[in-house]
Amino acid sequence: MRWSALVVGVAFGFFLTGSGLGNYHTIHQGLLLRDPYIYLMMAATIATAATGIALLRRRGHTLFGEPLVIPRHPVRRQAVYGGAVFGVGFGVGATCPGITVAAIATGAWWGGLVLLGILGGLWLRGRAERRVREVGQRPPRRVPTA
């Protein structure tokens, strides 16, 4: 599993960086609705992956013969709350957890600071969820504010 993950990771990093998404300009122009590149790429990605996933679901097991289940999840509130917080960072920085690596690799060293912030944000959210559990209040998905 680790070798598969490594090899696919290399390919993913290659295409992500080759797409030029590591350049602030590419995503910023997309979010200003001036350049369709990010939407065309996203559509092509999903069309390809959805086709492959449909075939894999029909097959029902991995190439190594293990049972394969690709689940669908009903909407939980935290997907929307978290998505909104994520969207603010995505909008201001024109970057995301994978693309910041593409930025760093192509010379935008400032991406390192974004990455540091991402680790900090992941830690903060973990702390918030632990606190809610410890106090024994309502589950984390019902916490109304960030």
Partner: protein, 156 residues
């Protein structure tokens, strides 16, 4: 080094390439491609907590290697941080980018995924939750970007 990419791959190459990565990870390892989960595992390492999904560290290591490979094969070079580094003094830029990261990390863990886990993998699998998360972060990002653009007089 060999110029394979010549600046930017067309969307009809990069898109299907990324899509095949999602399919390959399911086909080989029954695993859902996502990046923020990998950073979370790295956080566990830093916190000296048990790594719950070791494969994610391998995937993220591969992602870093692949990114530098693409850069070596001609992916467009970038310097500074776009319009932000042209208009913000360095200390403020540093603060803004750190805050950007915190929002992204916090939101991704809250939502259970980011642009890759929800936006690409979840949407491709037809997961309603991923549609909701993806629609939310794209809409919010577009509104925020347009607002910042207008408030800065078109500078950013």
């Amino acid at each position: 080094m060999l110029q394979v990419i010549a600046g930017q791959l067309p969307w009809w190459v990069a898109g299907p390439g990324v899509g095949l990565c999602v399919v390959a990870l399911y086909a080989l390892a029954n695993a859902k491609l996502g990046v923020s989960g990998g950073w979370l595992q790295l956080l566990f390492v830093a916190e000296r907590r048990p790594v719950t999904e070791p494969w994610r560290l391998w995937f993220t290591g591969g992602l870093v290697a692949g990114a530098f490979l693409a850069a070596g094969l001609g992916a467009g070079r970038v310097s500074g941080y776009g319009a932000l580094s042209r208009h913000l003094p360095v200390p403020l830029l540093a603060l803004v980018l750190l805050a950007v990261g915190v929002l992204i990390g916090y939101g991704a863990r809250w939502a259970g995924g980011c642009t890759s886990g929800h936006g690409i993998s979840g949407c491709s699998a037809g997961s309603p939750e991923s549609f909701a998360a993806t629609a939310t972060f794209f809409l919010v990002a577009i509104v925020v970007t347009v607002l910042v653009h207008l408030l800065s007089g078109g500078a950013v």
